[in-house]
Amino acid sequence: MATVELDKVEKRFGEVVALEPVDLAIRSGEFLAILGPSGCGKSTTLFLLAGIYAPSAGEIRFDGVRINEIEAKDRNVGIVFQSYALYPHMTVAQNIGFPLRLKRVPIDESKRRVEAIARLVRVEELLDRKPAQLSGGQQQRVALARALVKEPQLLLLDEPLSNLDAGLRLAMRGEIRRLQRELGVTTVLVTHDQIEAVTMADRIVCMSKGRIEQIGTADDLYARPASLFVASFLGSPPINLVEGTAEDGAVRLGERSFAANGSGPLPQRVVVGIRPEAIRLGEGPIRGRILDGEPHGREWIWLVESEVGALRVVEPGAAPRHRAGEQVVLGWSESLLFDAADERRLQMPGPVPS
């Protein structure tokens, strides 16, 4: 399996900069997710790796070897598209066997490998059907089999689950992860769904507007986001962001002032990020009033108007413990502190009410 490096790789389409120069190193056998909103350049990155697009600048290396000039057909990369892109005029078996046919693998060996991979992704019953006769989930598996059958050194998945319904998505998440572990193939998954990235990948690359915001494990991104963008993109319900000012080592949020938690100079304008699940209702010095509540199965999400601003709060338990209009007190145990000007996180803990 291959290691992959992007070295200041850039992609422009005429005037449009789809990808600003990015650096990225993928380890051999790693499962990497590229996470970001629609249009941020995820697919572009994937197509650069596949050789479908040529980079405008920079170098792409597989196992340390520059492959910029190598065509897609010679890169030995398996790719699954969001729309699956099965060949409508071929049967499932012909679809899966297509890469082998192009490599002139002998018929009987090809047949054996197609059957083996079909068993692996559980479509061995469907080999004689045409793609139009398959359900979304089955098409997905066939596309996966086609990408895997040539034993690629790199597997690329472009939002492979976004066309499936919720139940199937859950099942396929596990399935893809299992396959990847079994085969040990270096894998890049593109997704806009944080749950997919968090549950499937070893590391996550968070992208926005053609730039890499942060690379790290799910825990890195969640607990130590590099920027406001990463902080607000991960976590559900999304993080509470409260704008404030800093003066004389204190942070002012709404009507309250907090002692800064670290040493070092603070910028004038800051943003404090408080995770909804870090806030506790009923204990703490901050006063507030419940505006509204939503049941979410085993937890409730409360919208609270507080002294520091509007806050979303997650409270476990199926039964509601508050009602709209009720006066409450609240506090939180940890928060994140960002510079409002450049939107980067400051290297010190955020303010906590005492």
Binding site: E71, I79, A85, H89, P99
Partner: protein, 349 residues
């Protein structure tokens, strides 16, 4: 909740309304198609029964059988529920109609008008002499020329339109928009306006009175629209299929041949059929550019048979006409199953 009786009443009313709508539709279709069908029917009856000169006896007889049969068929379709019973009644009706036709037309039928098929000197043996001189070519020579022009022209149109349509659909290049608009504008001009310039061009090129000249001229006139149609079909093929093929190990050309081309089969077929028919029926440019009798096509043969044989034998001209349209009908019947799947710029469902 309305009573059961009210429900039944409502259902009956819906049934009556649907019957009325269907009946109106059938009537319109029937009346609308008669003006098109009757001339062809006449052509056919004259070709099979006429004796020097057109007679309408057989036509009226045929209509007297076919029209009631058509009416009866409409009634069967409207009144009987779909299924075995309906189909059996239809077969019975068809048998009765055929029997009626046999009685009415049987005594008049003969194949005399088709002698041109086996008598190559037919024109000279007819009354009067041909004004273009003696020795009309055999109908088979004209048939072969038409076939050659239509096929060669079809192959060229299909090849060029497919490649150009793909290129226009997939590649960005300077002036692409202008080119596309140009294609449509070109198609908007009536070809007739070009007869004289084309004649001069062909003359200067030294191609006058060659079948190649007709082929090239029709190709040039047919291409713009054919390219446009093919571009539409290629536009409907997703990019990702092609990208996927390249990741699977295809070069761009193989991806085109193995993966993209099979998705536009219907388009290729449609362009091929229409190009063939266009070449088969071509008259204006064959008339302008072909002089030598050995180069005559079916359309010219038909024209000269009618025009130039004194005391024209309309029965035989009709037979030639029927002979002339048979290939078109065969081709269309063989391919219409695929052609009807076609919608503008793609394949249904």
């Amino acid at each position: 909740m309305p009573e059961a009786a009210a429900w039944a009443d409502l259902a009956a009313r819906t049934r009556r309304r649907r019957l009325l709508v269907d009946a109106t539709l059938w009537t319109f279709l029937l009346l609308g198609s008669l003006p098109i069908l009757v001339p062809y029917l006449w052509l056919l009856t004259v070709a099979l029964s006429g004796r020097t000169g057109a007679s309408t006896t057989v036509l009226w007889g045929t209509l007297a059988v076919l029209f009631p049969a058509l009416l009866a068929w409409s009634l069967i379709r409207l009144a009987l529920p779909e299924g075995r019973g309906q189909r059996r009644t239809e077969w019975a009706l068809a048998a009765i109609a055929l029997f009626g036709l046999a009685i009415v037309t049987g005594p008049h039928l003969h194949l005399d008008n088709w002698r041109f098929l086996w008598n190559p000197l037919i024109a000279d043996s007819l009354k009067g002499a041909s004004g273009v001189g003696t020795k009309f070519p055999s109908v088979w020579s004209a048939f072969f020329n038409s076939l050659l022009i239509a096929s060669a022209q079809m192959v060229m149109v299909v090849t060029v339109a497919t490649l150009a349509g793909y290129y226009l659909s997939r590649f960005a290049f300077g002036g692409r928009e202008a080119y596309l608009q140009g294609l449509l504008v070109l198609h908007a001009f009536p070809a007739m306006t070009l007869v004289i310039p084309i004649f001069l061009l062909v003359y200067w090129a030294g191609l006058l009175d060659t079948r190649l000249s007709v082929i090239l001229v029709i190709v040039a006139l047919e291409l713009p629209f054919a390219i446009f149609v093919m571009k539409g079909f290629f536009d409907a093929v997703p990019w990702e299929i092609e990208m996927s093929a390249m990741a699977d190990g295809c070069s761009r050309r193989r991806a085109f041949l193995l993966v993209v081309l099979p998705q536009v089969k219907v388009g290729v077929l449609a362009v091929a059929v229409f190009a063939f028919l266009r070449g088969w029926e071509e008259y204006v440019f064959t008339r302008t550019l072909l002089i030598e009798k050995a180069n005559w096509t079916m359309s010219l043969y038909l024209f000269w048979m009618r025009e130039d044989v004194m005391g024209t034998d309309y029965a035989m001209v009709s037979a030639i006409g029927v002979f002339y349209v048979i290939p078109s009908i065969v081709l269309y019947t063989a391919t219409q199953k695929y052609l009807t799947q076609m919608t503008i710029g793609g394949i249904k469902g």
